[in-house]
Symmetry: C2
């Protein structure tokens, strides 16, 4: 994360130490007396990536306590909770997407079958709530559960719109706001509430997290169309296979018109057909990428993400004092649109 | 439920009214602004069956308040929470079992695919925790989450032992205690704690619920081998197809010896083989049933369940005053071994 490398180094060291603690809490919570459970849960721990969501919790906590720049045990626990929720969604997402690769390794469903992946996801979500209840705050438990309710709604709306070539931008944004951004917003709100922030600050921080989450998903969807699986480290191109219309495709269908539009619609339709050979699917996806590369739709999506990030940064600058932690959060927002993986 | 029909009728009416309230709370909690979510959640509500778990919560609450025989809003909420947890496990179980029928209707996975079923299960479990946090008690939230942790462990242990012909009785009982009985125990403990019971009473009630749950699962497993799908109202015989060794089979393998034992082991092994035709699987399952019908293994399992129910009843009689609600709980325990569906 280039933007973040230049940030305050004592803050970065602090964050690194905190994230190591979060990983320990995470592993400790999942420990079982059953070997078969530990084996699977251990595999899931390879899924820790950038740990964006725990970072949001920890940095928000630091940013709202300008004097101390410190985090407390409750923030570490909350960070482990959101990471566990996120990992549960990854494990179930990979089942829904038939994905074979994540974090440069085989997925749980690929290694142990869909059944083990469904149950491991349940085990993770259950432990997330279990750990969360140790905070002793029904309000925080309710915020986390509200966020997961919303994530599921987003996923269900997305499922209901598979292969819907008429999916419009507002519905696309409803889907990604719920399935991805609501948890990012909750990360910031939970940290703010644990630190006793006023309602308006908590709301502004939720706004920052949510907007950042929307931008993150827009770029994730662009990468699914343009990225290299080896660089990104996970199965890509599944959005086409699974009939998920994302922002560049919605824009292209709405704007390219004429023969190009008809060809694109035809290609997207055929991607969703049962019994399509892998070779044909690959050729079709390649042609979709060519059409996108020749138009403005990928740039349109990237610009949308950049504009969202601008709004997320304003939310922070208007509501928090200028501290190293705030600067870190502003930098974090930029990495979301700069990322290639 | 014949045993229960003869019970105190004012208590039964009270329970019926409470269960209607629980169904309302359940439906209300799941309401969404998205039609596609309401459609799926509405379908899940057809899964309300005997509502054993809410009954355990409500009747325990009445049994520990001998003067009043009343339940409060908090008990109704807890009853809706455990029903929602249970329904989430049914929805995901049907995915794991490839089951096509439940409560005399098509399963969610059959109607809408595994992906929608995985996500609907997640939506249910998320709302269960959300509703639970409205009780304002981190201790109760933690008990529910602890129970769901344990349920997942049981399911994962069961998955790890699919097609394991050497599965022994202790491991079988560990599986069913965790996957089924822990939630039944939690129903009683949650009700006891909400009513401010002493630790020893709460422990005894947990014991009653857990032991009843173990017996329930033993009989459920017997019915999977012997029941009529039309009477029971769900897909049966899946334990054989999915390589789940249950108590009658464990007993038969351990006791029938000689040629019979070899034949049974061979049949069970072939049931798990990929690419087995439906006709061959059906013939194999039929022969397994014949072998079981000729031996003592089904009776062995039924007697085990009956003895467990005896223990569950003692737990109650030793620790609760003699009230109509206690009598109801004793009768409920008996229905578990008497049931044919």
């Amino acid at each position: 994360m280039s933007v973040l490398a230049s940030q305050d180094s004592s803050l970065s060291r602090r964050l690194e130490a905190d994230l190591a603690q979060v990983r320990r809490l995470f592993a400790q919570e999942l420990e079982s007396d059953l070997d078969c459970v530990n084996d699977l849960a251990g595999h899931a721990q390879r899924y820790h990536g950038k740990m964006l969501r725990p970072m949001l919790v920890l940095m928000t906590a630091m940013a709202v306590q300008p004097q101390g720049d410190t985090t407390e045990q409750k923030h570490l626990i909350a960070a482990a909770v959101v990471e566990m929720v996120h990992m549960a969604t990854l494990v179930h997402d990979d089942v829904l997407d038939d994905a074979a690769m994540r974090r440069r390794g085989a997925t749980i469903n690929q290694l142990h079958g869909n059944e083990a992946a469904v149950m491991l996801g349940d085990y993770l979500i259950s432990h997330a709530y279990h750990l969360c209840s140790s905070l002793g705050s029904p309000e925080i438990s309710r915020m986390i559960a509200h966020a997961t309710n919303t994530v599921c709604e987003g996923e269900l709306l997305q499922l209901a719109n598979r292969h819907n070539l008429e999916l419009d931008e507002p519905t696309y944004f409803t889907i990604i706001t719920r399935k991805t951004a609501s948890l990012c917003g909750a990360c910031c709100r939970v940290a703010a509430e644990l630190s006793g922030c006023k309602q308006n600050v908590s709301d502004a921080l939720y706004g920052y997290g949510e907007t950042l989450g929307i931008a993150f998903q827009v770029i994730d969807d662009v990468l699914d169309l343009t990225g290299d699986p080896q660089t990104v480290g996970k199965t890509l191109g599944q959005d086409l296979v699974k009939g998920k219309l994302t922002l560049p495709l919605i824009h292209a269908l709405a704007t390219c018109g004429g023969a190009g539009g008809v060809e694109l619609a035809g290609l997207l339709k055929s991607q969703g057909e049962a019994g399509l050979s892998e070779a044909k699917a690959g050729a079709g996806a390649g042609r979709v990428r060519e059409i996108l590369a020749g138009g403005r739709s990928l740039d349109y999506a990237r610009e949308k993400a950049a504009s969202l990030i601008g709004r997320a940064k304003s939310d922070l600058m208007d509501n928090l004092e200028d501290t190293p932690a705030r600067a870190y959060l502003l930098g974090l927002a930029e990495t979301v649109v700069e990322r290639r993986l």
